[in-house]
Symmetry: C2
Amino acid sequence: MGEEVRKNKQVVLNDYVSGFPKESDMKFIEGTIELKVPEGSDQILLKNLYLSCDPYMRILMSKPTTSTFGSYVPGSVSLAFQMQPLTGYGVAKVLESGHSDYEKGDLVWGFSKWEEYSLVSSNQILFKIKHADVPLSYYTGILGMPGMTAYAGFYEIGTPKKGDRVFVSAASGAVGQLVGQFAKLAGCYVVGSAGSKEKVDLLKNKLGFDEAFNYKEETDLDAALKRYFPEGIDIYFENVGGKTLDAVLPNMRLHGRIPVCGMVSQYNLGQPEGVTNLAQLIFKRVRMHGFNVGDHYHLYPKFLELVLPLIKEGKIVYVEDIAEGLENAPAALVGLYSGRNVGKQVVVVARE
Amino acid sequence: MGEEVRKNKQVVLNDYVSGFPKESDMKFIEGTIELKVPEGSDQILLKNLYLSCDPYMRILMSKPTTSTFGSYVPGSVSLAFQMQPLTGYGVAKVLESGHSDYEKGDLVWGFSKWEEYSLVSSNQILFKIKHADVPLSYYTGILGMPGMTAYAGFYEIGTPKKGDRVFVSAASGAVGQLVGQFAKLAGCYVVGSAGSKEKVDLLKNKLGFDEAFNYKEETDLDAALKRYFPEGIDIYFENVGGKTLDAVLPNMRLHGRIPVCGMVSQYNLGQPEGVTNLAQLIFKRVRMHGFNVGDHYHLYPKFLELVLPLIKEGKIVYVEDIAEGLENAPAALVGLYSGRNVGKQVVVVARE
C-alpha cells in the first residue's frame, strides 16, 4: 500500500434486522482505503459530504426474499475483509475520476456508501451538481431523490387538478413536506398527518398546509378524515400504508388517485397490517399506483427549472434535520422509524 | 283500473342481507301493473325477456353505509303498496313508449326490474338492440354489461401488450371467460382460476386459456401462481379480492397492472379479508385501478364492431347458464356466490 492509504470510517450492518431497527444493529468501524482510482479503471473516487437517511433503507436490512428488491450485505454474511458499508443516496466531491464525464472537484449526487471515502462506478452517480448557490445538503432532499419523488409522484402519478382535495401522510417528512407545497402551488386544498404537535405546527405554520393533524391523537382516523374532507379526498399521497390507507379508502372521491410512494408504517412489521377496504377502489374507480423515482429521473432538468427559482424566491421551503458526523448516522437512520426526525434527515460526513 | 291491468310477478328482497344471501332472502310475489304508459309521461313500458344475475347485486342487498354505493329497498323498509322488485340489467321488448327514441317492438338492453313488466324512465335504457341475429340473451352477457366490462377492463385499464402474462380469477364467469379470450386475441399468455374441475376443463378445452387451475384444490396459492407464472404476472384481472389478491401481489412483474373489476369473495363477509402485500405495488411499480363499466359505454359501438364478427366467425365463444322462469331467479342469483353457475347466469322471463 502506498502513501495514499487513509483511514476510512464506515457504517456496516451487523446482521439482518427483523422488527424495528436499533442503533446496535449497525457498527461504526474504521477501515482503510487507497485514495487512488486503480490504474485503467473508469471508477470515481468520492469524498462523501452529505448522506441521506431514507425510509426504504429499512427494507434492505431485512433478509432478502423473492418478494423484496434486494438487501444490504451484513457483516454476519460477509467475510471480514469484504465488510460492506451501507449504501444510500449522498452528495459527494470527486477526488479523482477514471471516467471522462467527471473531473476532480466536481460535486455530484447519487448512490454512495456510508463511509468517508468511496470508490464507485460512474453509473452510480446520477447527476453533477451545477447549482451550488443553495445548501449542498439540499441535494439529499428537496433537490435530490425525495424532491424528485414528490414531483413525479404528485404531478405524474397523482395528476392533480386545481381544486383537488389532497391528503398527505408522513407529511413533514422529506417527501411529504414538498408534496404539500406542490399541492398548494397547484391550487389544491391540502391536509397532512404527522406524529407530533411540533410537526403539525410546522405543517400549518411553515409549510403552508391548509390543515394538519397528529394521527397519534386520533382514536378514529375515519372520523378525522371526514372532519377535514367532508366531501372526500381526490389524491391521497401514500407514505405510510396499513391502518391509514384502510381509513383513507372509504373517504376517496370518485376517480381518486393514490400515488403509492412508501408504506413506512409496515416495514418493521413481521406481518404487515391487512387492508380491508380495497373494494372501495371499485366503488370509487380509484387508481392506486406504486411508483419509484428511478423511473422518472429524465424529468430532473424540468424539475430543477421549476424548483430552483421557487427556493430562491422563498416560495418553497424545506425543513432538514441535520446529524453531525458519520458516527451519528446509525442513530439518525433508526430515528426515521420512530419519527424522531423533524423534516429531512441528513448526515453530515464533511462540509467540503 | 282499466282493462289493461295485468298480473305482474316480481322478485323482492325481504330484508337487508348479511353474510351469504339465501334464496329465502327474496320473495316471489304477484303484483299488478297497468299495461299503459301514463298520459303525458315519457316513460317506457317494457316486457322483460332476459334478466342478468351479476355479482355486484350482493352489495345492494346490504344495509347501506356511507362506504357503499346504494342498496335495494327491501320489503321490511317499504310500505306494502310500494314494494319494489330488485333492479338489474336485462333485455326487454318495448310494449309502449312515451319517448320518441323508442317505439313499440324495439328490443333494448339496460336497467330493468325483476318482474314481468316494467315501467322505466328512458334513461334506464342503455342501448337499442340492432343485431338480433345472435341469441338475445347475449345482451345480458357477451354483448351487454359483462362484455363491455371485460373489454374496457382488459384493453383500457389493463393496457395489454403482445406477450404479456395474464392471470384472470373467476375466469369462467360472465366477464372472466371473455377476458381470457381477449387476452389470447391480443397475443398474451393467459391462465385462469375457477372453483371446480368442470370449470377448469371449460377454460382449457373450450375457452382457449393456456392453463387453468381449481383454486379450491391449491393449498398454497403462491406456489400455484409461481408454477404457472415462473416469470411473474403482467396483468391480473381482479374479480375476487382477498386471499387471491394477496397471493398475486408478490407475483406481479415490474410495471404490472391490476384492473379491479370486482371482489366477489369479499361481498358476503362482515369483515373483508385483510390484504397484506400492498407494498409490492411500490417494489414492482404496479398500477391497481378500480373501474366501472358505466364510465366506458361510449366505447360500445367500437366494442360491437370487434365482437359481433368474432362471434359469428366462431372465434369467440360464450358459455351461459340459463335459469328458466322468474320464479327461479332467486336461486340463480344466490348460486353466483357459491359458484354454482357455470358461465354467465341468465334468467329467462319470457323468450319473446
